[in-house]
Assembly symmetry: D2
Homo-oligomer: 260 residues x 4
Amino acid sequence: MNSKLRVTVWGENVHEHKNKLVAQAYPKGMHTCIADALNKDASIVARTATLDQPEHGLTEAVLEKTDVLTWWGHCAHGQVQDAVVDRVQKRVLEGMGLIVLHSGHYSKIFKRLLGTTCSLTWREAGEKERIWVCNPGHPIAAGIDKYFEIEQEEMYGEPFAIPNPDEIVFLSWFQGGEVFRSGATFKRGNGKIFYFRPGHEVYPTYHHPQVQRVIQNAVRWAAPEGKWIDSCPNVPADKAPEKITARGPTLHKAGEAGLR
Amino acid sequence: MNSKLRVTVWGENVHEHKNKLVAQAYPKGMHTCIADALNKDASIVARTATLDQPEHGLTEAVLEKTDVLTWWGHCAHGQVQDAVVDRVQKRVLEGMGLIVLHSGHYSKIFKRLLGTTCSLTWREAGEKERIWVCNPGHPIAAGIDKYFEIEQEEMYGEPFAIPNPDEIVFLSWFQGGEVFRSGATFKRGNGKIFYFRPGHEVYPTYHHPQVQRVIQNAVRWAAPEGKWIDSCPNVPADKAPEKITARGPTLHKAGEAGLR
Amino acid sequence: MNSKLRVTVWGENVHEHKNKLVAQAYPKGMHTCIADALNKDASIVARTATLDQPEHGLTEAVLEKTDVLTWWGHCAHGQVQDAVVDRVQKRVLEGMGLIVLHSGHYSKIFKRLLGTTCSLTWREAGEKERIWVCNPGHPIAAGIDKYFEIEQEEMYGEPFAIPNPDEIVFLSWFQGGEVFRSGATFKRGNGKIFYFRPGHEVYPTYHHPQVQRVIQNAVRWAAPEGKWIDSCPNVPADKAPEKITARGPTLHKAGEAGLR
Amino acid sequence: MNSKLRVTVWGENVHEHKNKLVAQAYPKGMHTCIADALNKDASIVARTATLDQPEHGLTEAVLEKTDVLTWWGHCAHGQVQDAVVDRVQKRVLEGMGLIVLHSGHYSKIFKRLLGTTCSLTWREAGEKERIWVCNPGHPIAAGIDKYFEIEQEEMYGEPFAIPNPDEIVFLSWFQGGEVFRSGATFKRGNGKIFYFRPGHEVYPTYHHPQVQRVIQNAVRWAAPEGKWIDSCPNVPADKAPEKITARGPTLHKAGEAGLR
C-alpha cells in the first residue's frame, strides 16, 4: 500500500542557469531543494517538474497522479503555456492542492484562480523578515513558535491585491518598515490553495528549516479530501425530482446541450 | 450637478434577432428593457452597449464613465474579445460595480473574476421559481417581501461552481425540486460584484416588477466607493519607511522594473 | 495505540421521556441513536452525555478527552448552565470540533459562538425535505449523491440569522415551498463548526442512513488539527523582538497584568 | 430635513478621572475628543454616552436614534450591564453600525458579536506604530496615503483571536517588531462592524488627524442600509407557499409558539 501524499514541485528553473548567485544558493535548482525538503517528511513523496520539460513537465498523466502541486516562478511567467494553466486550474477545481511560493504571486495560475492582479510593493535590500503566526493551532503553523525570522529577504509589502483570504496564517514584519499577508488560504472549487511569501532566489530561503517546515505542513493541509468532476448537466423535465410538466416557450430542443 | 449613478447595460443582443419568442418578449432587446427599468430610478442614468458594436460598445471612454456595468449574455460568450474582458476586469478591480445576470454565469468576465467554472445544472421547462430573501435588511433586498415568485423560468440548480460568496442575499426554490444560490455578492479588488439568477430570454422575466427592483437595488449597492489604481511599485532601499542599508546579493539593478 | 476520534454526543434527553412519539422513534434516546451511528465508523469512538447528568455530563475531564462534540437540544436550552457553555466554548476555540444538529440552532453554545440570533422560520407538517449537495467533492458530502430525501421532516426556512458561513455544503428544498442553508461550516478560534439541519424529534431522522453518513463525515471533518491555548500575554519592552527603549507615559506598571 | 448620520460615541470615562496622564491628554474625556472629531464632518451629528450614566447612556430611546455606535472601554468592561449589551447586540443585528476602538477588543459587546476571546499580545513602551492601507480604494481608507504613523502607541500583536474578518483594511507595523490586523470589518445580522486598533489612553492618539479621518470614514461606511427585525415565525401548514397537507406525528399544537 502506498498512501503517501504525491507532490509535484514545479520550478521555473531559469535564474539558476543565468545568475551565479542563484546557482550558488541552489546548485541543483530551487525545485530540487524544495522537493528534498518535502521528501524528509515520511508521509510525502515529492517529484519535480520544470518549465523546460515538454508541457512544462505537467502532462495530464503527471497531474492526475499529483495530490498537491507547489509553484515557484519569477522571470518566465509569460512562457507558461495557457493550455497547461488550463489543465492545472481544472485539477485544482477538482481537488488538487496548490501551494504558491513567493514570486509565484504573479504566475498565470495564481492570477487565474484569484481573479485579481495579485500585485504588491517590493524592495530587494537583503533586509530581515519576521514571520508571525496568526493562529498557533493552525496545521500550517504546526511546529512554528510565535514567529520565525529570515535574516535576508526581499521585501513584499501591502497592498497585496488578492481577494479576502479564507484564513490568514502568517503576517510578515520587515526591517524597512512594511508589513504583508505572508500566509493566506483560499478555496476554489474543491481545491485548497495556500500562498506563502518567502523565497527570493538570491537568498538561501528554501534551506531555512522553518520555511521547509511550513511548506511540509502546507502540503499536508492541502491534500485532496474528495474529487469534484464538474459539468453543467441538463436535467430534462421528465427527470426532475418533483413531477412537473414542461410548459411555455423553449429555446433549446430536447436533448440539446447548453450554450457556453 | 450630475450625481446620478452611471450604468452601462450590456446585452449580447443575438437571440433577440434569431428567435421569435425572444423578439416577442423583448421587441427592443433585453438590454433596452433592463435599461428602461433602471432609468425609472431617479438616481440612475442607464445606457446600453451590445456585442455587435465596435469593441462591443465597451471602449475605454465608456468604461471610464461607467459606475456600474450589468452583463447579460448566453449564446455568444465566446465572441467577446479578450481585450474587452481585460478592460472590464481592470475597471472592476479599480472599483466599478458589476451585476452579472442569469446565463452571464458562463461569461468570460464572471469566470475570469471568480476563477472557477461557474457551472450549474439546468432545465428549461417553464416551471415556477420562488426567490427567498436571506437577509431582509440587505439593501439589495429592499422593497422585497419574504419572497417573490416568477411564474415561468428556466431552472438553475446546485452545485453552482463558485467560490464561497461574501453574502447570499437570495435562494431559489424550483417547482421541479431544485434549489439555487440566486443572489450572491463578491468583491474583487475594490469592485463589488452581484450575481442575480433570473432572466431566461424566452420568458418576460425582466418585465417583472420585483426583478426590476432587485436590479435597481443591486446597481445602487454596487456603486463605487473609491478607486484603486493598482501597480506593483518598487520601493528603493533609500525610500524605505525605516532607515536600512541594502546588503547582500541582488538580482535586480537599482531602478529596474520588476519581473512579470 | 488508540488513534480513534473521540466523540461526545450530547443530547438534551427530555422529550424522549415526556412525549410518546419521541420515545417510540428513539427508545434509547436520540443521543444513543446518534452515538450508535457514529460507532459504526471504525475510526470513531462515540460516548454520550445528557442534560440530567452532573455538569450535563460535560466535565472538564470529559471535554479534555473529546475531539468532537455533537449537540442536540430543543425544549431545555435555557437549563444548560452558563459555566458549561463557557467550558465548551473554550474547548472549541482551542480546536475541538462542534457539530450542531437541528433545533440546536437555538442552543446557547451555537448563539455564543456565532454572535447572532440564529433564528429561522419553521413549520411542523411532516412534509418532504430534499437536501442538495453544493460541493460534490466536500468531505462532509462524501458518499452522498446529488441529493437525498427525508420523507417527513419539520420545515426550517430562510432567513436563517447566522453570519455568512465559510462554506455551504447543503441546501434544502421543502415540499411546502421553502429553502434553507442546511449544512454550513464556520471556524471560531481553532475550532471547526458544522451546522446540520435535519432531526426533528418526532420523526425517525437519525435512523436515516444518509443523515448518519453526513454526521460521520462531519465528525471526521471537524477533527482537531492542532491546539490554540489562548492568553493575552504582555511582552515587556526588554523582550521585544527588536531592540526598543520604553519612553513616554505609561498606564501599567512593569509586570502588571493587563485589564479585562 | 435632517439626513445627518446619528452617531453615539460611548466612552468608559474612568481613567480620565483616575489617571493624570489621561486627564491631560483628554481634559474633556476621550469620548468628547472623538465626538468633536466626528462633528467636524458635516454629514455626521455625534453625541456621547458614558458608563456612569443611567443605563450607561444607552437607553432604548438613545439606541433607537443611533445609526452608528462607537465603543471605547478598558478598565471597566466588567461593569457594563449585560442588559445593555443585549440591547446593543439587538440593534447591531438590526442594522446599527458599530465601531470598536482599541482596548474595546475586550469589551463584552465585541466578544459577544464575534464569539471568540479577542485576545492579543501587548506592550506599553511608547513605540512607533505605522498603519498600512491594504485596499487604497476602500471607503474606510479614503484620504489616507499608503500609510500613516503614530509616534507613540501601545503595541498590540498577533495572534489576534478573532474570526476571519470580511476585509482587512489596515495592518500595523510596530517598532518593537510585531504586526497586527489593525482595521478589520465584520457583519453580524444586518450590522456592519469595524475594529480599529489605535487609541491607548495615555497618548494623544484621538487628536491625530488621520486617526480622526479613519473614524469618520468608518462611521459613514457603517451607516445602516436597511433594518432586519428578527423573529422566529411559525408558518402554519395552511399558509405554506405550496399547497401541502400536514401529516404524521407532531410535537407542537396548532398556533403554539416554538421552543427556545
